[in-house]
């Protein structure tokens, strides 16, 4: 398990505050997601947990090992996949995998069952230089290299960034299968829709966790009244809604607009109002919030 208490980290002599007191824990065999935009502090947090950076203050224990004092032990038991592709571009797929297996005193054969599902998809390309792979394949190779020594904890820093939706979904399917093998997985992402695939998540912004719960728990904690509004002329509709006194916030969400409303306003009321303002095909439905709605409610 992972235990983190009040972690602080700043750069450039205090001018850049990356972590502002982060506290959380991760259970064995859990998939814990850290969701937040660029600059939130996800990479700094992960690097500290991987023993690659020292925190300014605070404690972090990875399966009981202290990240400051026991870095040697930690480096034996973790698999780390940093934010950008960090394998050897001029070595082939197979050469990269063999190298990392040897680095961890094991062989590809020994733990092949762990990476089989993933590796099978890139195996036809095993002699191709890693630099010549597409984005999705690079991610799969990087994941294989991080798993080859059967780590106890897997730390994945934005593994799906810049990867198209189909590959992203496949990646999360793979993570689920790994969880079944008993590996604890700490993963970060900027894609809010991936939150639902984690056991528990933390929403992160500007160095702090603004929420920490199961995805459903975060949704349950949502305090606002949320409606989805549709109608012709989305851009104009948005401005109109924003000027309405009883509407707290309105934001585009795909082909609909999500609005949070003051108590007392009724859907029928709003629909009439909009129709009078010459908007046609108006539809208003109360909806359950998504993690993205929750994030935005917590940040504005």
């Amino acid at each position: 398990m992972i235990e983190v208490k009040d972690l602080h980290k700043s750069y450039t002599k205090g001018k850049v505050n990356a972590l502002n007191g982060v506290t959380f824990s991760v259970k064995d065999g859990e998939i814990f997601g850290v969701i937040g935009p660029d600059g939130a502090g996800k990479s700094s947090l992960f690097r500290i947990l991987a023993s690659l950076l020292l925190p300014d203050s605070g404690i972090a224990l990875m399966n009981g090992h202290d990240v400051i004092k026991d870095y040697r032990e930690i480096r034996q038991i973790i698999g780390y996949m940093p934010g950008r592709f960090s394998l050897y571009q001029d070595l082939s797929v197979e050469e990269n995998l063999t190298f990392f297996a040897t680095l961890f005193n094991t062989t590809i054969e020994e733990n092949y069952h762990l990476i089989k599902d993933i590796y099978q998809q890139i195996e036809p390309f095993k002699n191709r230089r890693a630099g010549a792979l597409s984005g999705g394949m690079k991610q799969k190779l990087a994941l294989s290299c991080a798993l080859i020594h059967k780590p106890e904890i897997l730390i994945l820093d934005e593994p799906t960034t810049g990867v198209d939706p189909v590959s992203r979904k496949e990646f999360w399917d793979m993570l689920k299968r790994l969880k079944e093998q008993g590996i604890t997985i700490l993963v970060s992402t900027a894609y809010m829709d991936e939150a639902g695939r984690c056991d528990r998540i933390a929403l992160m912004r500007e160095g702090e966790f603004i929420a920490n719960n199961t995805p459903q728990g975060i949704i349950d904690d949502y305090a606002e009244t949320l409606w989805s509004v549709e109608g012709t002329g989305m851009s104009a509709l948005l401005s109109e809604l924003r000027s309405h006194s009883k509407i707290k916030s309105s934001f585009a969400f795909g082909d609909k607009i999500h609005v949070t409303v003051e108590g007392g306003l009724k859907t029928g009321e709003l629909k009439e109002y909009l129709t009078k303002k010459e908007f046609s095909d108006v539809r208003i439905d109360p909806i359950q919030p998504t993690v993205e709605d929750c994030f935005m409610a917590l940040t504005i």
Partner: protein, 368 residues
Amino acid sequence: MKQFIAFVHKEFYHIFRDNRTLLVILGMPVVEILLFGFAINMEVQDIRVAVYDPTPDTFTNGIAERIQQNAYFNYLGKVYSMEEMGELMRKGKLDLAVVFQQNFQEDLVHSGDAAVQLLSNSSDPNRGSIAVTYATAIIAGYQREQTGLMQMPFQILTENRMIYNPLMKSSYMFVPGIMGLVLMIICTIMTSVSIVREKERGTMEVLLASPLKQGTMIFAKTIPYMVISFIDFIIILLLSYFVLDVPVNGNLLLFFLIAIIYIALTLSYGLTVSTLVDKQVNAVIVSAITAMVPVLMLSGMIFPIDNMPMVLQALSTIVPARWFIEAVRKVMIQGQGLMMVWKEILILIGMILFLLVVTIINTKKRLE
């Protein structure tokens, strides 16, 4: 036109906001001019001379005195045997030997001529020939002086011999220098770039997060370059011997030993540089400048160390190539043995240890 100006503006901003580049562009010329200005002193001075006079007389003493008084010469005194003379020359303590024949004055008065031999140390051919020229001029001057006082015409014959470099080939001087320079550049740049490349590409992060010990990685990285550098060394050696006719007089194994030690030193320096920079570009710049410039200017490869001002001479003691070149000249061209170069070898090994200690202290277990 607008675009042009806008872009020029932008480029100036980039330059002035990047301190490192600024240092190189503005600082380098200053350093080079100063170094060049002071180091280039092609005038030959401080010529160390000793005299062997088996039968001292008025004439020999007279000539010796003239030499002693001459500002260009550093008169070491009289030696009492040719062995002693040879010893001094071998140890590199002597530039010119003046050897009078037996019964100089007698022969001069009775036969009309007598001979004096001028033996110059020509590992540095420039220096050697000028030393002889000066000495010859002094002797000729003495002869003119004395002609007036003698009843019979006479002639002092000077016989010149160049020791160590009879054909006065400048390649003898350059080859050790080139070896030192090339090995320094290749090894230093190559090792430092190789390590910094991992930092830049991001693979260093993954390696750090693994059980791999930093020491293992660093050592593994130097091995291929060691092998390649040694091959380079052999190539230079073969070319020098067969194409440039540079002699390989000394013990070949000793020579190889010195080469290996020097290569290890340049590799260690590359490691040290890699702990100080984060970008490959910077690794190349720092390696090239700190390796190349001192070797070119201060190692004795082109400009004689003895001619430099004291400050630069002191500086040259920390340039590894200086000791390598001295050792190579002694072994390769002069054919000297281990006894003559142990000092240089010890200094080189000391430098290696120093660099390794600095490297180990600077090697980080973490990213920042």
